[in-house]
Amino acid sequence: MPNFHPDTALLVDYASGSAHRAQAICLSTHLSFCAQCAQQVRHLEELGGDLALTEPAALSSGLLDKTLATLDSAEPPTPRPTAQARQIEGRTDLLNGQSALPELVQKLITGIPAPAAWRKLSNSVSMARLPTGQKDYEVALQRICAGGKTPHHGHTGDEFTVVLQGSFSDEDGIYSAGDFLYRGPGEVHQPLGALHEDCICLTAVSARIKLRSWFDWLFAPLLRIKPM
């Protein structure tokens, strides 16, 4: 069970459907690890049904008949395949064949145009961008190799992180699978990989990251966001 969770307001944005798509991808990924937040979202959706479906607006006459007429030509419902059958093939080259990832992340990975895969940002950090159909955030997988150090960096925008495999730490704690982190504008941190294994995270970054030292500027071109 994860120890770091999104704040309630973000879960409300997700449940009401106003969260940005990139945020929602991170939230949804956290929910697949966290039964408690998933249950909280169910309650928030229940509230959504109670509040949003309260004030009727008259329908034009004939709308029901028009809809009824489409039912028979509509595709018949097909049962959803079981979780096992839904395991997505291919692109496992990205993940060293490690433990299963949330379904959503697997689907995102299939969207990576081959043969693009991990791109080195530094000796210890690589990144694989994920196409998500929006332009405000760069959504990517980031891998910090065992014992790796990332540049000390601050943010001019938002950064959402969900740990998928392994763990990393920074000044505030140790994060492992399912943990959800948010860093806002002005916050500075330096993630460090765990010593014994690689750490893979899903990240969504909204604006250019600000680096702290002249040395870090060497990485600057690599840290500019490029949504796809």
Binding site: S18, I25, Q39, R42, H43, L53, K107
Partner: protein
């Protein structure tokens, strides 16, 4: 408000009252068009009302009706995945309508087709393998216990903007000229009073 006939539509064997719509959904799952028509008569206008109040995107009357058809068609197609133990009918239909609105929003914005669709990101309580199963078994059918009308005005305002106008808490903060933290705490306080907070 428009004058709508909200008299419950009765169907053979389904009495108006508790779980009326849950039962109707179960019948729709078996292909019952009378049950579908009853659901349409009740939820159709409510779904349209929800779309007309939405702010992202702003939806015209004609588009709202197209979306009502889209939502109700999904209800027809997906009713077999509805699990009466997991959600009330209104919750389930809300999540389908919400996803249709998000779809419309991104259809307008996005240029390339992503490898994922809205329902991969916003699940609609159909999966049989979600980790909440254990918790869901423990929970019973539940109405929101508190009433929004009993909340202090400023909390009501925030909750309504979030849920009825589909604005993010950040947008609400900008709109009201309030610090983000103030909006967050109003949301938390409101949710606590409405007893929808799992942990305080």
């Amino acid at each position: 408000m428009q004058n709508i006939n909200r008299r419950p539509v009765s169907m053979q064997g389904i009495e108006p009252g508790d779980q009326q719509w849950e039962l109707a959904l179960c019948r729709v799952a078996k292909g019952d068009k009378a049950a579908f028509s009853a659901l349409f008569a009740h939820f159709g206008p409510l779904i349209k009302g929800m779309f007309l109040r939405a702010s992202q995107p702003v939806i015209s009357d004609a588009i709202a009706e197209e979306l009502v058809q889209e939502v109700m068609l999904k209800v027809w197609q997906k009713a077999y995945t509805y699990d009466v133990k997991k959600a009330r009918a209104s919750t389930w239909i809300f999540t389908i309508a919400r996803n249709c609105r998000i779809d419309l929003f991104y259809r307008k914005q996005s240029e390339t087709a992503p490898s994922i669709n809205t329902e991969d990101i916003w699940n609609t309580l159909e999966s049989d393998d979600c980790p909440v199963d254990e918790l869901q078994r423990m929970r019973s059918q539940r109405q929101v216990r508190g009433s929004v009308e009993q909340l202090p005005v400023e909390q009501q305002d925030v909750v309504k903007r979030v849920y009825m106008e589909s604005k993010s808490h950040q947008q609400v903060a900008e709109e009201l000229g309030l610090p983000l933290g103030t909006v967050k705490s109003r949301i938390r306080l409101a949710l606590q009073k409405l007893q929808v907070m799992l942990v305080n």
